[in-house]
């Protein structure tokens, strides 16, 4: 089984997200970076499927040169191959990103054969566009379901479970297929020592892709209105318990 996972490098902010003075980007001066959480789970899902059914996992990212770091993280937990589609500093819009991914996947498949599964995250953590995977899957001619909280292979089909208000829905896609994965589908493993070594040595293949701009343009980032609160310290240590219970009564959740 050949599985491709598309991952995105995103900043890992703490208490708040700061924006650069020109409002064009997240100020990452003091931030670390990570793989977007849903995609971290997509990598884990791919590695588990390959452990069960054989094959190999390839990870792909479209991003700055530094995104190599996230590809190596994926290799450290079991991906075999890594592809970087380099772009300059700023993010590409979703249409452009999807076209570039589809082009590169198409080129890899022409050379090495088709991927049985192409996995995405349900949405990227930073842009939250809910669309790059859907667009790329359509260009690649694969059926696609987003929001997967379960993924298994059954006689040439990808069986996807998804949570809805009414219950758990099951989909059955003939492979080759594409699936958008959601956090909670599994618990991503930590890299082993061996994995870390492999990730240092792994070759990251660079593949340029040209793609025309799409019609969604970012003008400027802004912070949402913040909730101002004058915190009331109701006590220190266990002695605060009676005051807490008084408060719970006052707030109407206890009689």
């Amino acid at each position: 089984m050949r599985i491709l996972v598309c991952v995105k490098r995103v900043p890992a902010p703490g208490a708040r997200i700061n924006i650069t003075a020109d409002g064009q980007a997240v100020d990452t001066a003091f931030l670390g970076f990570t793989v977007s959480p849903h995609e971290e789970c997509a990598v884990e899902a791919a590695v588990q499927l390959v452990e069960q059914h054989g094959g190999e996992v390839t990870v792909l990212t479209l991003g700055p040169a530094e995104a190599e770091e996230q590809l190596r993280t994926a290799v450290s937990v079991g991906a075999a191959k890594a592809v970087l589609v380099p772009i300059d500093a700023s993010d590409w819009d979703p249409q452009r990103t999807a076209r570039a991914i589809a082009t590169v996947v198409g080129a890899i498949e022409a050379q090495d054969g088709a991927f049985d599964l192409v996995l995405f995250g349900n949405e990227s953590a930073d842009s939250c566009g809910y669309q790059v995977g859907i667009r790329a899957a359509l260009s690649l001619g694969r059926p696609m379901v987003n929001g997967a909280k379960g993924l298994e292979i059954e006689d040439g089909h990808a069986v996807v479970k998804r949570e809805a208000d009414a219950g758990i829905e099951r989909y059955r896609l003939p492979m080759p297929a594409a699936v958008g994965v959601k956090e909670g589908i599994n618990l991503p493993r930590y890299p082993t020592m061996k994995g870390r070594l492999a990730s240092k040595k792994a070759e990251v293949v660079r593949t340029e892709a040209q793609a025309g701009e799409g019609g969604l343009r970012m003008v400027q980032l802004q912070r949402p209105p913040e909730r101002v609160s004058n915190v009331q310290i109701i006590g220190t240590g266990p002695e605060a318990a009676p005051a807490v219970v008084d408060l719970l009564v006052e707030l109407g959740v206890m009689s």
Binding site: R170, V231, G235, G237, L248, L251
Partner: protein, 327 residues
Amino acid sequence: MSAVLVVVDHDRGTIAPASLGAVTAGRALARQIGGELHAVTIGAGADALAGVLAAHGASTVHQVHHAALVDYGPEAWGEALAAVVRALSPAVVLGCGTERGHEVVAQAAARLDAPAAMNCTEFDESFDGSGPLKVVRARWGGSLMEQAEVDAAVRFVTLANHVVEPSEAPVAHATTVHDVALPDSVLHSFVRDRVERTAGVTLATAPVVVSGGRGVGSAEAFAPLEELASLLGGVVGCSRAVTNNGWRNHADQVGQTGTRIAPDVYIACGISGAIQHWVGAMASKNIIAINTDKDANIVTKAGYAVIGDLHKVVPAISAEIRRRRGA
């Protein structure tokens, strides 16, 4: 005349409440551009929704029919929506900020290679139906906003949840049935079957959530939080640090990649209040933080706080509740 087309999210004919918020928002946009408000329902099983859509202002309801459109299928719905959009050429296609809403809008926009802006919270009030539509949309699960332009002849957008409350504005309505042809390729991704959910208090609906973070320290150490939650008729939640450590299931996680909650009282124990956690908890009516660090972000943002070790404070609260109840 150009129109605003609202995509209705429904499950086998049961309307998702967010759909009526979208119709209400669509009404304002339609008025603004001097156009009509249309709605589209996918599958004959949703034909009966025309009345409620008209009650909220939709003057034309497009009803897409095909034998396969019984249950939900993202690609078939996307194809169906794309067919109506091609026939109508609306200025704006407005979907709901629900899982299906985003998915159907993305599927249809992909088919027309048109841009789409998800989770919009504002639409430019001077938009007259021509040129790019300026929007404000939520990124980072709502931790950050983006002013953006959707530049295309048909502007696909979704409305973030709970931004516009539904309101009625009844109009006379017409229905138009579209018998669409669907290529075999889109027939694969339908819901095959489902397991109905059992009713009960869930993280999303509980009046009280007692949540634990890394400060709890282990899976076992959640027992006192469980006890407090059950004394208050609530449930236990947690931070991502907890799910990442395997102490609790992801179903309990509050935040950007977990569940958004809005309980009457949120009790955050040993949680620092990272922005991705905060966006999931900030709609709580009251927040009580229990933390050893008086400068923790959650403490400064909460309404109330107890400074101290949660391992001592939480059992003391439970003991006090039991004492008052005389048990």
